[in-house]
């Protein structure tokens, strides 16, 4: 029996080993390497190897207004985009959760934006929002509304990107919430209806509590994705106008690949990692997942 257990344990380890090796090499080691680089100065063009400078990068970041601006923009984007996607996604999922003719086709069509790469999404919405040739401003003028500087104005550029992001990722929320809605027992609704519950009460007291955990998980996933946004911003505004949409990932990209300051970029990455981890921890603790 002991031999059997030992044999099973070894087999288990053997089967898990490739995945563990992969995880270690491609996930764990790069994190530690990035932490190491964050304590070095390494301009890829000027030096062949990093040189240790201790906490200098972190001290410099504390006074780097551009970094804090990008962090502020990223957090604002995260909160607004996630809120819009979760609320809209939940609403659409509830609407789509009914047995009517053609609903499966509608569900399929609705998921298409999720399948498009972010670069293409950015290009599509860049054209839609374009001041001169964009159809959106044209339609606004047709109904007598003045054209809006969607991507040209620092006030509206970020919200324009949020619209594009919500268009692409709300279907993801819809998909998960729809799946969660299938697990809610029909008898609960029937019993509540027999007791005279209205549609709003059904939603508030049955649907919402039943899918709360899924909403939480979806919000965390979308939040983490929103924190890392890059492609759409790069295509639509390039971080402009001025630095109105320069999200953290864009600043890291510029620092690492345009100015080749790998040490400093690594320090930024570590700080961002701490920020998103803290966010997630607070979120989970507050809502008690």
């Amino acid at each position: 029996m002991d031999m059997m257990k030992k044999y099973l344990r070894s087999s288990l380890f053997l089967f898990l080993a490739p995945a563990l090796v992969y995880l270690f090499i491609w996930r764990i080691v790069p994190v530690f390497y990035t932490v190491y680089l964050s304590f070095t100065e390494w301009n890829l063009l000027k030096a062949n190897a990093p040189s240790w400078i201790g906490l200098d990068n972190y001290i410099y970041i504390l006074s780097d207004g551009r970094f804090f601006n990008s962090l502020k923009i990223t957090i604002l984007f995260l909160i607004l985009a996630t809120a819009v996607e979760v609320i809209a996604g939940m609403g659409i999922a509830v609407l789509l959760d009914r047995k009517i003719r053609g609903i499966e086709v509608i569900k399929g069509l609705y998921l298409i934006p999720m399948l498009i790469t972010p670069v293409v999404v950015g290009t599509i919405w860049y054209i839609i929002f374009h001041s001169k040739i964009g159809p959106l401003n044209y339609l606004l003028m047709v109904v007598g509304i003045s054209p809006v500087k969607w991507l040209d104005s620092p006030t509206t550029a970020l919200y324009s990107i949020i619209i594009a992001d919500a268009w692409q990722w709300t279907p993801f929320v819809v998909l998960l919430v729809l799946a969660a809605l299938q697990t809610v027992s029909v008898e609960l609704y029937e019993a509540a209806k027999m007791d005279g519950a209205s549609a709003t009460q059904l939603f508030r007291f049955i649907t919402l509590p039943s899918i709360k955990r899924v909403l939480l998980i979806v919000a965390i996933i979308r939040g983490m994705d929103a924190f890392r946004i890059f492609d759409t911003v790069f295509i639509m505004t390039g971080g402009g106008p001025a630095s109105a949409t320069e999200v953290a990932s864009m600043l890291v990209y510029r620092t690492a690949f345009q100015f080749f300051k790998l040490g400093y970029a690594s320090a930024m990455v570590i700080i961002l990692l701490c920020v998103i981890s803290a966010f997630t921890w607070i979120y989970v603790r507050t809502l008690r997942i």
């Binding site: 890829l44 106008p241 630095s243």
Partner: protein, 466 residues
């Protein structure tokens, strides 16, 4: 004996002739089978010229492949490829803002090694004395030419000559500003004229009501290089440093002169079309080509390619070229300050085919190729060869040829981008500063003072100042 002498002499002559023929064939056939790779930006100026390069390469027995990249991605790619000593390339585009970096990090090989070697250079093909004086300096680093100019395009003024010559407009302008309406000689006049011609739908232009808004000027103010190319002309003409004082390396971004430039530039921006602060040069030029703008400062090749093209222009025959304005008070010191864009190609320092790459460049810049190229209807980029601009066919093709002569005769101030490797990063910071002002996020003094501190920190960290 006589017979023997004749036979020997004949044999020697035959061998000599064969040697000459072989040398002539070898000069071309030694490149037989060579594969040349070019990394370049996909601009209209290059799509045609590198087609010619492929053809020239084929005639020399080479197979030439062009790999296109977006402009900003190309710099990063080449610097990283250079770091790993990649042999992927033979010829690469060298933007004049990258010259300092590329020279310092050995990305491209100086060309004088080939041009000064009598065994290599073919003087019938390459004649630097025929180049415009402004062609070589942008890609000359510490006295060595590191990339070959393959064309020439100045930043130029273009203005609506039909509007400027309209009697009613001339009368109204003089009444308002007290001087004659003509191509602006100073940036202050440029602002006056741009303000005068910025009109709303329904207002009159040339005696007829406008059916949409009309703008006095257009600038491509997308933060980064687009904005920079427009702003720098104002800055240099005023006498301000390009970001830092070259002798002391101290940033001077918030100098009183540059602050004055920023204020005037922001005023001109109010006369530009909507969306100017995210516009590229192409978009800005198309506003002018569509007849919605009175004046533009833009690269000549874009104006020629878009505004003189019937497929894309509504103003053919309605506009003229002019010298860039000067800054009031600096007319004698920095007259009509402008830049020459020379579409440079350099030899990749890790190339396996450097000689073949150089010989291809020689053919590309030869007078014969340049003539064929600039007379090609699909090409809009003027040549850097002075003598070509006197040829009747070229003058007919390029109305701009007269401006070239004016540039040469007037001895306009042609400036260079700084060649220091810190320039790209400093430029990025400075252009964001201007963009903040144009988008109304900050006032000029506030933005420029803040950025001055950032630049000082950058320069201190880089060891340029203490």
């Amino acid at each position: 004996m006589k017979r023997t002498t004749i036979i020997i002499t004949s044999l020697v002559l035959i061998v000599f002739c064969l040697y000459l023929v072989k040398s002539a064939i070898s000069a071309e056939q030694r490149f037989e089978g060579v594969k040349l790779n070019i990394a370049c930006v996909q601009w209209a100026t290059f799509t045609k010229s590198l087609e010619y390069a492929k053809q020239l390469g084929k005639e020399m027995g080479m197979e030439v492949t062009v790999n296109w990249y977006p402009w900003d991605a190309l710099r990063e790619k080449l610097l990283l490829d250079n770091k790993v000593k990649s042999q992927a390339w033979d010829l690469v585009y060298v933007d004049y803002k990258w010259v300092g970096e590329f020279a310092k990090f050995g990305v491209v090989e100086p060309l004088d090694k080939y041009m000064k070697d009598p065994k290599i250079v073919d003087k019938s093909l390459i004649n630097p004395s025929d180049w415009l004086p402004s062609s070589a300096p942008p890609t000359t680093y510490k006295g060595r030419l590191i990339a070959m100019p393959t064309g020439s395009s100045f930043i130029t003024l273009a203005y609506r000559s039909d509007i400027f010559s309209h009697p009613e407009e001339k009368k109204n302008f003089k009444a308002k500003y007290g001087y004659e309406l003509k191509a602006p000689q100073t940036y202050q006049e440029f602002l006056d004229i741009a303000t005068f011609f910025t009109r709303k739908k329904g207002e009159s232009l040339m005696g007829a009501p406008l059916d949409e808004d009309f703008y006095g000027a257009s600038h491509s103010n997308k933060a980064g290089d687009f904005l920079w190319h427009d702003y720098i002309c104002y800055m240099v003409s005023s006498g301000a440093d390009i970001i830092w004082e070259p002798k002391t390396m101290k940033p001077t971004w918030n100098s009183p002169t540059n602050i004055a430039v920023g204020k005037l530039y922001a005023e001109v921006a109010k006369t530009c079309p909507p969306g100017h602060n995210v516009m590229s040069s192409g978009e800005s030029t198309s506003w002018f080509a569509n007849g919605k703008v009175a004046m533009i400062l833009e690269w000549a090749d874009r104006i020629i390619g878009v505004c003189e093209n019937p497929a894309s222009s509504k103003i053919i025959g309605k506009f003229e070229y002019g010298l860039n304005p000067s800054w009031k008070g600096m007319e004698k010191v920095r007259p009509h300050a402008t830049m020459d864009g020379t579409s440079p190609l350099g030899i990749w320092s890790h190339s396996k085919n450097k000689l073949a790459a150089y010989k291809l460049l020689e053919k590309l810049v030869s007078k014969d190729t340049q003539r064929r190229l600039i007379l090609d209807p699909g090409y809009a980029y003027p040549s850097m060869l002075k003598s070509l601009f006197n040829e009747p066919e070229v003058r007919k093709r390029y109305r701009y040829a007269d401006l070239i002569r004016q540039i040469l005769e007037t001895k306009v101030y042609v400036f260079l981008h700084p060649l220091d490797p810190i320039y790209p990063e400093a430029l990025n910071i400075a252009s964001l500063s201007v963009s903040e002002v144009l988008t109304g996020q900050k006032k000029v003094e506030e933005s420029y003072n803040e950025v001055q501190k950032k630049l000082e920190e950058l320069f201190k960290k880089a060891g340029y100042i203490k």
